[in-house]
Amino acid sequence: MATNDEVKEKKLTAKDFASDQDVRWCPGCGDYSILAQVQRTFPEIIKKDVEKIVWISGIGCSSRFPYYMNTYGFHGIHGRAPAIATGVKVANPDLDVWVATGDGDLLSIGGNHFIHACRKNIDLKILLFNNRIYGLTKGQYSPTSEKGKITKTTPFGSVDYPFNPVSLAIGANATFVARTIDRNPKHLQEMIRRAGEHKGLAFIEIFQNCNIFNDGAFSLLTEKDTKDDSVLVLEHGKPMVFGKDSDKGIKLDGVKPIIVDLASGSYSKDDLLVHDEFSDEPILAMILAHMTDHPNLPTPIGVFRQILRETYDGGIRDQINMVTEKRGKGDLAKMLYGANTWEVN
C-alpha cells in the first residue's frame, strides 16, 4: 500500500474533479454549492485513486451530478440509483461508490431501494438533494413537501404528510445519518468528509434550495436573522446549545425535547441533552430527527448517528472466502459431473 500513498503525493485539487461538461442547472440553484463542496472536499478525503470513484444517480435535477464529476459515472433511471450502485459495489468492493439523488428519486419512486440499501448496510455514500419539490418536471409536490403545500398538482394544497428522510434512514438502520444545508458550505464539506470516511451506508440529507419552483423553502434555516434561532448544530459529546447568543438549550422532558432559556439562570449547560453520535440505541437520533419542522423547536443539522457493523458487500466477499477456504476453489469439471453420473459405452 506504500506505493499507493506515494502516488497520492501528486496532490489533487478541486479542478481535477470537474469534468469538461457545461453545468446546466438553473443559475442560483443550490446544486452548484453541493457540486463545489464535493469537488473541494474530494482531494482531501479520497484515499483512493480517482479511477476508483464512481458516481451514480437516478433521474431529476440532482441526478445530472455525475456528468459534472471527472470520475466514472452512471446516470441511471428514476429511483434506481441505490440498486445500480449496489451492483457496482458488490461486483467490485474496491470502488468508492457515491450516489447523487433527489427527494422524488430516492423517497418516492426509489423508496424501496433506499430502505433496503440502508438495511443491508451496503457501503455507499448517498447524498440526498432535498428541495421538497419536483424540479425537473416543473413544480409538482414531492414526498418531502409539507402538508398543505400548493403546487401545480395540489392547487388546493397537498393532503398527504411528508417523509422525514433522516427519521426514515434511522428507522431503516442506516449506519451513518447526517443532515446539512447547501448554504452552509463549511458544514456541508464537513458532512461529506465524515460520510466519505464512514465504512458502511452513509446518508446525508442536504437541504437544497430550488430557486425556481420552491424558493426559500429553507430560508428560516439560512437567513442571517433567523438561522441561529432555527438551527441546532449537533456536535458529538457537546450539550445542545443554539440561538444567536448561544442562550438556548435543548433538554428532555420525558422523551419530549423542550427549549430552555440559559440566560434566565434557572438552567445551565449541565441540564442539557448531550449529543452522542455513536450510541448503539437509535432513540436519541430518532428524537432529534423528529425535531425537524417542529413549529417551536430548532431543526438539527450534523451527524445524527454513526455506528459500525459489517457491510453487505464485505459480508458477501467474506463468505466467498470462507466457503472457498472450506471447500477449495471451485472445479468446474467436477461441478458439471455432479453427484450421480453413469457411463454409456
Binding site: 461538461q21 466514472y72 433511471i77 451492483g87 461486483a91 458477501i316 476453489k329
Partner: protein
C-alpha cells in the same frame, strides 16, 4: 424372503408413469427419485412435474393434487408422454383428477386406505370408484399403502403422523420392483438427505424396502416389467433439469469468459431455483444478490456489468414486465447483461406453476423507444446449459442485453445429459479497454460494440446513462440527426448478430408439403409429431428456432421451400405473428394455451388435417 414367486417378466420399450397425490404427499420427490434411478440404469427419459401453486393445499382436495409424469424408454425419448400408461394415485382426488388423461387400457395403482368417506367426499365422488364401475377397463391394483407402511414401521420411534409420511417411499419401492429398478440410488440419497435424523433415514429405508418386498411377494402383481437401457451416444451422463443446467451454463460461461459471475434476482416461480443454485456456487466466486424487487435485480446486474462482471438477472413473466425500463437502460448504456425469463402462464400472476410461451413478443418488443435486444430460446432442459453460454457470449461480444427465454416445463423437467468436455466449449472472453490513447466511450469496433472500460481503470473515467448519447464521445446529445444515427446503429448492431449464429437446421427433407416450425420448449413434442407424420408417409419436416432476434439468416430461405408452414405454440400465435411480419408469408397455426406442454398427438392431428386436404377451408 425365502418364498420365491413365479412371476412373468415382460419387456417394454416405452412407459409413461404418473405419480399423483396430495401436495403434501411427496409426489415430486417420489417422481424425482424414480427419474434419477431410471436415468442411472440407462433409460432415456423426460419428465413433467405438475403441481399446484399452493404449497400445502387442504389435504384431499382436487385442487391440492400434485403430479409428476415420467416417460422412460429403451429408445430415444422426446416428450414426457402424451398419455400415462400407469397412474399411481395416493388418494381419491388424485385418481379423479388424472383418470381422464390415462391410457384407456392403463394401469392404476391406488392407495386403498385413503378411499374413506371423507376423502371420497373431498374428491366429490358420489360412490367409491373402487367399488362401482368407474374403473372398468383399467388394470387396477388396490394396495393398502398406508397400512402396509405403518405395519412395516411398527416399533419406529417416529410419530404416527411421521410414519404416515413415509408412504410415498413404500409406493416408490413398489414401483421399483414393478419396473425392475435398483434401490441403491434412493437409499444413498435418503442417507444423505436425512443425515441428521437417523430415525427418519431408517423409517424411509424400511418403507422403501417394504414396498419393494411387497411387489415380490404379493399375488396381485403377476407381471414384472423390464425396460432395457437406451442406446445413447457414448459418454458420461447425468440426469438434469433445465434450471440446474442453466445455472451450470452460466457458471461455465463465467469460467470461459474469465469474468466473475453476478446474479441480481428476486424469487419468483418457476425461476427461483436458479438463484438458489447460483447462491451455492460461492467457491467459484459467484456473487448473488437477492434483491428487494425485480427492478433492483436487473439494475444491480446493470451496475455489476458496468463494474466488469458477467452479470445476469433471472425472472418469470411478471418480473420481466417490471424489468422492462431497466432493460432499455442496458440498451442505451450498451452494457452486457443476460436476462433469463422462465415463462409461466399469464397474464398477470396467471398460472405460476404452469408452463406457457406467451412472453415472446414481450421479450422482442416490450420496451419504450427503439430498443432492440438479442433474444434466444432454449428448447430442452439440457439446451438451457448451452444457451446460457451462448447468451453470455453474445452479450459480451456485442455489449448488449440478451434475453434468454425458457419455460416452466423445461425448467422443471429433466432428461439425461451427456456432460460435455470443457475443452469442447468455446472461449467467450473479451478484453476490457485499458488503453487511454484513442479511447471514446461510444467508439465502436467491427461488431459495432463499444469499448468496455470498467471503473478502476486509470485514465478512462467516463460517464454513461439513459440519455441519448453522441456517437463516439458518448456525451449527452439531443441533436436530431445524431439520434437518428444512434437508433440505427443500435438496431444494426443487433441485426448483425445474424452473421454470428448457426443456420436454422431442417430435420427431415429440405423441402416438402409442410414445415413444422417451433421455438422453445415445444421441441420434443414437435419432433415426436413430425416423426410420426413422416412414418405415416407425410412430407413433413421440422425446424426449431433457438434464436428469435435476430432470426438465423437462412430462415426465409428454409420457409420458402415448403408449401405450408405450421407454427404450433403455447400462446395465441406470437412466433407466427413475427414470422408473418418478417417474411410476409401465410402460416398455419396450432395454439393451445392450457398451461401444459403440447401433446404430440394433437400436433399430429393438425398435421394430418393440413395435409389430408381437409384443413377446414
Amino acid at each position: 424372503m425365502d418364498e420365491v414367486k413365479d412371476k412373468k417378466v415382460e419387456k417394454l420399450s416405452d412407459v409413461t408413469v404418473r405419480f399423483a397425490g396430495d401436495s403434501g404427499d411427496g409426489m415430486q420427490l417420489t417422481g424425482t427419485q424414480f427419474s434419477d434411478t431410471t436415468a442411472w440404469v440407462g433409460n432415456d427419459l423426460s419428465t413433467l412435474p405438475d403441481y399446484p401453486a399452493e404449497i400445502r393445499a387442504p389435504a384431499g382436495t382436487l385442487y391440492g393434487v400434485s403430479g409428476f409424469q415420467l416417460h422412460f424408454s429403451s429408445i430415444h425419448v422426446n416428450t414426457p408422454g402424451d398419455v400415462p400408461d400407469v397412474l399411481v394415485a395416493m388418494n381419491p382426488a388424485a385418481l379423479k383428477k388424472n383418470l381422464t388423461e390415462l391410457n384407456p387400457n392403463g394401469t392404476i395403482i391406488v392407495n386403498t386406505d385413503s378411499f374413506d368417506p371423507k376423502n371420497l367426499k373431498l374428491a366429490r365422488y358420489e360412490s367409491n370408484p373402487l367399488e362401482d364401475n368407474t374403473l372398468d377397463g383399467y388394470h387396477v391394483y388396490k394396495v393398502p399403502i398406508s397400512s402396509l407402511t405403518s405395519n412395516a414401521l411398527e416399533g419406529s420411534p417416529l410419530s404416527v403422523k411421521e410414519v404416515g409420511r413415509c408412504k410415498n417411499f413404500f409406493a416408490l419401492g413398489m414401483m421399483y420392483w414393478l419396473y425392475n429398478r435398483p434401490l441403491e440410488k434412493t437409499q444413498e440419497w435418503l442417507k444423505k438427505k436425512f443425515a441428521k435424523n437417523k430415525d427418519l433415514v431408517d423409517a424411509n429405508l424400511k418403507a422403501l424396502q417394504a414396498g419393494y418386498n411387497f411387489g415380490e411377494i404379493t399375488e396381485i402383481f403377476t407381471t414384472r416389467y423390464v425396460v432395457e437401457p437406451a442406446q445413447l451416444p457414448k459418454g458420461k451422463y447425468r440426469n438434469i433439469s433445465g434450471n440446474e443446467a442453466l445455472s451450470l451454463g452460466f457458471l461455465t460461461a463465467s469460467v470461459k469468459s474469465k469474468l466473475p459471475l453476478f446474479l441480481g434476482s428476486y424469487p419468483i416461480t418457476p425461476a427461483s431455483e436458479i438463484l438458489q443454485y447460483l447462491s451455492s456456487y460461492k467457491n467459484f466466486g459467484v456473487k448473488t444478490v437477492q434483491a428487494e424487487d425485480e427492478i433492483a435485480g436487473v439494475t444491480s446486474a446493470i451496475g455489476a456489468a458496468f463494474a466488469g462482471s458477467l452479470a445476469l438477472t433471472t425472472t418469470s413473466g411478471p418480473g420481466m414486465a417490471l424489468k422492462t425500463e431497466a432493460i432499455g437502460l442496458a440498451v442505451m448504456t450498451e452494457l452486457p447483461i443476460v436476462i433469463v425469463d422462465v415463462q409461466r402462464g399469464g397474464p398477470s400472476t396467471g398460472l405460476p406453476t404452469k408452463t406457457e410461451q406467451a412472453d415472446l413478443l414481450q421479450a422482442v418488443y416490450g420496451r419504450n423507444g427503439e430498443a432492440p435486444v438479442a433474444v434466444l430460446a432454449a428448447c430442452t432442459p439440457t439446451d438451457c446449459f448451452y444457451q446460457a453460454i451462448e447468451a453470455s457470449r453474445i452479450a459480451l461480444k456485442y455489449m448488449t442485453p440478451v434475453i434468454l427465454l425458457t419455460d416452466g416445463y423445461i425448467a422443471n423437467g429433466s432428461e439425461p445429459w451427456k456432460i460435455p468436455e470443457l475443452d469442447d466449449l468455446p472461449d467467450i472472453s473479451v478484453p476490457f479497454r485499458t488503453e487511454k490513447e484513442g479511447f471514446y466511450p461510444y467508439l465502436r469496433n467491427e461488431n459495432l460494440a463499444r469499448p468496455w472500460a470498467i471503473p478502476g481503470t486509470p485514465g478512462l473515467e467516463h460517464r454513461i446513462g439513459g440519455l441519448e448519447k453522441a456517437d463516439i464521445t458518448g456525451n449527452v446529445n439531443y441533436d436530431p440527426d445524431n439520434h437518428n444515427k444512434m437508433v440505427n446503429l443500435r438496431n444494426k448492431k443487433i441485426k448483425n448478430i445474424a452473421n454470428d449464429i448457426p443456420d436454422l437446421k431442417v430435420d427431415g427433407d429440405e423441402s416438402g408439403d409442410l414445415l413444422v416450425l417451433g421455438w422453445g420448449g415445444t421441441y420434443g413434442t414437435l419432433k415426436d409429431a413430425v416423426k410420426r407424420a413422416r412414418a405415416a408417409g407425410y412430407k413433413v419436416s421440422q425446424a426449431h428456432l433457438r434464436y428469435i432476434n435476430p432470426l438465423p439468416k437462412n430462415t426465409g430461405g428454409v420457409l420458402k421451400k415448403f408449401d405450408k408452414v405450421l407454427i404450433p405454440e403455447i400462446n395465441l400465435g406470437q412466433l407466427a405473428k413475427l414470422i408473418k411480419s418478417e417474411f410476409v408469408i401465410e402460416v398455419e397455426q396450432f395454439n393451445l394455451v392450457r398451461g401444459l406442454p403440447l401433446k404430440s398427438k394433437d400436433v399430429l392431428e393438425k398435421i394430418t388435417e393440413l395435409l389430408g386436404g381437409n384443413n377446414g377451408n
